[in-house]
Subunit: 256 residues, 4 copies
């Protein structure tokens, strides 16, 4: 496989002014969690599989020990008459050049389906273990700010300060060349762990965008499990810190 | 050499429904050890040499100080009427893109020979120095599970959890596109050293697949040598640990 | 985007024997600071945007939370009848091959505009936090040395000893093939921080080259802010050093 | 510059059965030192300059602050009627693929000149600071072993055990495909520093190959300077070791 390959599982798909959600692996796997939840809850139908030498040479192993080659996939579903496309996947490109090539490929496919708006979903790393609820936004058209603020998205001047790296950012930039409106929704997250709680924050924004209320049970459960993990890490960290403190005291005693 | 080059050492080779074993360098060099043992014991005949700019720019030095350029090679042999192809080599691709390109090249060659089944061979790292005998399997067709279980292969739900990276995994995925049945056989191994003992476990599965009993003496000898190395490492580690313990005791005495 | 793309914002631009300043991110971001200051003060007009898969897959976030795709840009302005081109940008190429490809692209554009002289601007890392004012030069034609010395540029035998890596150096080399005279002006800088003070040193040389006096207020202000940061770092370092010294004394006391 | 460029400084060069020496940067810069010494002492004439996007984007700065783009170069000279080609350069390829591409380019040029034998020159790292005189050989044709042994080259069974990585090795492998005899001569060297003494060992082998005695004064001088550096490093190391020993004693005293 020298070139990226697009496999269409269904021909002659006609969608009506669809909006597209993109959730690829990244900070806290927040975007990936959201789109997987969407696909499951909205009973998304897989339309396209994308294989590429820009992905790692890897197969994933299913529960039954069969394998599948790492890829990206496009799903569709319909909510209250609104057609939706969802881009999900195992990996982002492993090279810069692949990022640009795949980015354009995704948007070629999106344009074919007549996509009118793209939402890329990701995590915004705070570096803190204490959970801060919130979804930060960036847009490729100033007009979307007010609309998204009404849906609960927060806009912070000049943030993220280092820009947005990877597919979530790049697609916003590439959409601009095609006059496709696009916004990046970033759930606040520590940046250290997979974060279903942050995914829930984004889900609530999507609920408002779509005017529905998607069941969050599955995410809720994963969030609770994750919270236990975080608690353990915190306790360990505190014990370690207090230990170091004691040792330091002893050191000081000793030196004096 | 801007492109991969295939050198055929013999023209007009006709094989009857061959099965293919793939053993390239990887975890514990388990796959490589197995296919080298197969080639030697089954008197494999070299058919093809593959050179590629995706391999490191390296020559290997023979015993007599002549050199040969790093490559991959395809051998053939016949056991009880069963034609066999063996893919062996010095390196896997050093780039992701090369992995995909070479993977397809190998399968183009396999298809030309009419290969009906591919077994990729590798190691499954346990991270433990205590030897656990066993061969873990993954397949690209659920039908192979039962058959391989009968040959002593173990299937663990969802394992390996991180998928299979490199040629062993990728070939399973690429075979699927060509409707070639493929299985990956992974010998349990510490992951720290070259492991002929793990190669022996795989050999026993291959014996059952082929319905023969291949002499294991050479592997047995290498395994014994390796065991001595492992014993030394373990002893050193224990001494180190006990030393650290003693020091810690002293530290504690001191602090109290 | 598989290939680098050049977007012209204005057609039929005719310049008269322009000179070109190049200031891309690098050591102390000195070159970048200088050309941003030039563009602002000389009211540069943007002519060209360059997008490339050789840049990182990144968007920058503006103050108002709109984004723009990482790129390089060419501006023009006219000072006392002298046409000027300025190459500015967010990134240098992230691959060696991209450096060569983009380097030639920049010079193709420069030649189209009839550029007669190129000045690449950068930082010369001293590794010392104490500020040493000065601009070091390297040229692709021995005749420029005397001229630049008169403008306050210092030439040190054989320096920089490790050559000049990146666009600043490469463009000098590529200009030589096209018989375009080129010089690299490197402001002395610690190499640890963004350095507007070093940018000011280069500005003074450019003042002499252009026979004008460009307002330095903006750089001056940033330099003052940076000085405070440096002072803080220095104080912290001194405290740390003296602390270590005390501890060492205690260690010595103890051992004796 | 998207592709490698070959600039011929002289047309219609006809050589008679030339032998080629290759000395690119590598372990201890031994090969590079040898060919630079050859070019200077045999008054080599530069025939070809090779520029490539596979080299780093770097210019080197001359004594007079003019620059030159990093490249590889081919020189020629004639000793007692024997035509010689010398490949020298600032860098090896910075990518694997570039190594293969440039390797074939060098041999295309060599074949055009009718090269009958290639000697690649490099260092053989011992990891020890104590100097061990000697030149280790590897060949692409068993017939050269005896001939080179007579010239003082040592052949050690199976060494170098990890093969030969980089241009020195690769060219031996690629020469084999073209039926050009080739040998790699590796001077023993610590592997930690630039080593003119090791270069001298290789020079003595070349003297015998060419049946002449090339003046070694320049190398001798550099070797003496280097020896002083090594002595200093050794002294520092010994002091450090003895210090650590003392400290350890004290630690022990203390703990008891």
């Amino acid at each position: 496989m020298k070139e990226t390959e697009v496999i269409r599982l269904k021909e002659d798909v006609h969608l009506n002014n669809p909006i597209m959600f993109v959730g690829l692996p990244g900070v806290g796997h927040v975007g990936k969690l959201v789109v997987e939840h969407l696909i499951e809850n909205l009973e998304g139908e897989k339309l396209i599989e994308i294989y590429s030498p820009h992905f790692p040479p890897q197969v994933l192993v299913n529960k039954d020990n069969t394998i599948r080659l790492a890829n990206n996939e496009i799903y569709t579903c319909n909510i209250n008459g609104q057609d939706i496309l969802i881009l999900a996947g195992d990996h982002q490109s492993s090279t810069n050049q692949g990022h640009y090539e795949l980015g354009d490929l995704y948007l070629d496919l999106a344009e074919d389906f007549g996509v009118s708006r793209v939402y890329t979903l990701g995590g915004f790393p705070t570096g803190e273990f204490n959970y801060n609820e919130g979804v930060i936004g960036a847009v490729n058209n100033i007009e979307f700010v007010k609309e998204l603020e009404e849906h609960g998205v927060e806009f912070r001047e000049n943030e993220p300060g280092n820009g947005i790296v990877g597919a979530s950012g790049l697609l916003l930039g590439l959409c601009k060349f095609r006059n496709i409106g696009a916004a990046c929704l970033m759930g606040l997250t520590s940046g250290y762990i997979v974060d279903p709680k942050s995914a829930q924050s984004i889900m609530r924004v999507i609920d408002k965008i779509l005017g529905i209320e998607i069941d969050e049970e599955a995410l809720e459960e994963r969030a609770k499990e994750m919270e236990k993990v975080v608690e353990k890490i915190k306790t360990m960290k505190e014990q370690q810190d207090s230990k170091q403190l004691t040792q330091k005291d002893e050191d000081i005693n000793y030196i004096i």
